[in-house]
Amino acid sequence: MIKSAQSKVEYLVTYIVWGLSILLLLSMIFLIYKMVGPGFSTIRWDYFLSEPLNSGRSGGISSILISTLLIVGVCLFVAIPIGLGTAIWLTEFTTSQSFLGQNIRRSLDILAGVPSIVFGLFGNALFCRYLGLGFSIISGGLTLACMVLPILIRSIEVGIRSIPSEHRFSASALGLSTFSQLYHLILPLAVPGIVVGLVLGIGRAVAETAALVFTSGYVDRMPSSISDSGRSLSVHIYDLSMNVPGGESNAYKSVFVILILLFFLNTLTMFLADRLLARKVMNE
């Protein structure tokens, strides 16, 4: 009697879990269909290769695509070393109970929840004005780095923490130096955490609008260097749908492009992380 009641509950839980996953999947498919459908049917190759005309109503997005890649590139170039360093310090060089470590962690969690417009105004004040970088791709990238760092550090930290301490003990017992431990053991095992952090970080960086309007700016011409102002894809989509009458159809095309870009960047991240770090364990 008791047993059958138990199994009923178990069936029910299974159904609920399945139901919820299917619901999520369906809403995802619906969203992608709604977003991609109108763009996909009208997009042509030259959309990727020409510059925007008539405020983006016609022409392509080549300059905007390049600006976006440069902004994300600057962001990752700065965020990855700082993020890895901080995460390693938090896990390996300080105890989880230490005063400093706890406070850094708490501030990171608060920073991760700060609205992006605040980062935008901060970036505008610090990078554009105080450091004199002006509206530029580098200002935008640095601002995004500030935004992405909390997520990146915390996910890498979780990744490193999930490594069983037995591994560390055996490494120490074998007389490995701190550096060798980090390079040969901790980092390769932390790859899943790093990948999660990077994927979330890139997602936030590519999707960002508010922080970039005030830092990398609105100019839609092809940037000739990273000290030029350049419009990102998300800013372009925002502008086309909010400020440009008749820009809707090109906004949908840009949405399609941004989804492809995210897919491409995420795949590349996983591939590179795999190549550069994960194989270390097997080689050595």
């Binding site: 509206f135 100019v219 990273i226 000290s227 400020n243």
Partner: protein, 272 residues
């Protein structure tokens, strides 16, 4: 080995990124402000750059108040504002580039030809629900409102002293084209769009009609003459009297040379 090569390649790419390539003899202007004016100014700037090689004009958006404060603080050479200057802002100099006006549109087959401001307010608040109450057919009114964040919505609400939460909309639309399509396809709809876009569609034969506001016909001509009440100027703003490149650009942006560009953005040129 292969991995090292990849890393070296990436490093080389980063190092050779032209970090600060300053082109000598290049002149640069920074324009910031209203997001309504920014798309138009971007096009004007491109036309100006084409006419004057070696000149670069960076247009940044961010809102009218930002444009005014940047012009005042000197962060921008020129500010953009999608409204007239207030008395306390009279220290700034302003130049009208274009005008923006909105009009109430009805379907051509709707027998109603006139609505008072009060009736319009009541219709959008949902207090008048049937065309019969304002002298039309016995049919429910379809209220077409703009999506939040639209500059036309802002101007409309400002003029009629309405809050967005008070408007009882049946349909919420994005751009002018969508508004015109909705009203032309529904005999009982009422909406408001940019006059430039509406006139253009009437010429094309779209079945809509433009209502007069307080007795003034909704035409681009009346906006230009300053008679039509529901309009606003799109301004360029400077701190002091413009000089050099600044002056040259303002002269270009306020000349009749930009009229086509202005009309392409559904605004009304300031000069004939």
């Amino acid at each position: 080995m292969k991995e090292k090569l990849t890393i070296q390649l990436i490093m080389a790419l980063i190092l050779f990124l032209p970090f600060n390539r300053v082109i000598a003899s290049e002149q640069k202007l920074i324009i910031t402000g209203s997001s309504t004016v920014a798309p138009l100014m971007l096009e004007i700037a491109k036309a100006f750059e084409k006419k004057n090689p070696g000149v670069r004009i960076d247009v940044q958006s961010g809102g009218s108040s930002r444009g005014l404060s940047d012009a005042r603080s000197g962060l921008a050479d020129i500010g953009m504002a999608s409204r007239g200057l207030k008395p306390e802002e009279s220290d700034l100099k302003n130049y009208v580039v274009a005008l923006d006006g909105i009009c109430i549109i009805l379907n051509k087959n709707n027998p109603v030809v006139k609505l008072t401001d009060q009736q319009i307010i009541q219709i959008f608040k949902g207090e008048i629900k049937n065309w019969k109450q304002v002298g039309g057919l016995d049919a429910a009114i379809t209220v077409v409102n703009k999506a939040e964040g639209r500059s036309t919505l802002e101007l409309f609400e400002q003029y009629f002293k309405l809050k967005n939460s008070e408007i009882k909309a049946s349909v919420v639309i994005g751009d002018n084209e969508q508004g015109i399509k909705t009203v032309s396809g529904n005999t009982n709809a009422i909406g408001y769009v940019s006059i430039g876009a509406a006139e253009y569609n009437v010429e094309l034969g779209t079945p809509i009609k433009l209502l007069s506001m307080s007795g003034v016909l909704a035409t681009t001509e009346n906006i230009k003459l300053g008679l039509y009440p529901l309009s606003r100027p799109l301004n360029l703003v400077t701190k002091a009297s413009p000089e050099g490149l600044q002056k040259k650009f303002i002269e270009f942006a306020t000349s009749s040379e930009v009229n086509t560009l202005v009309q392409q953005q559904y605004f009304v040129p300031a000069k004939k």
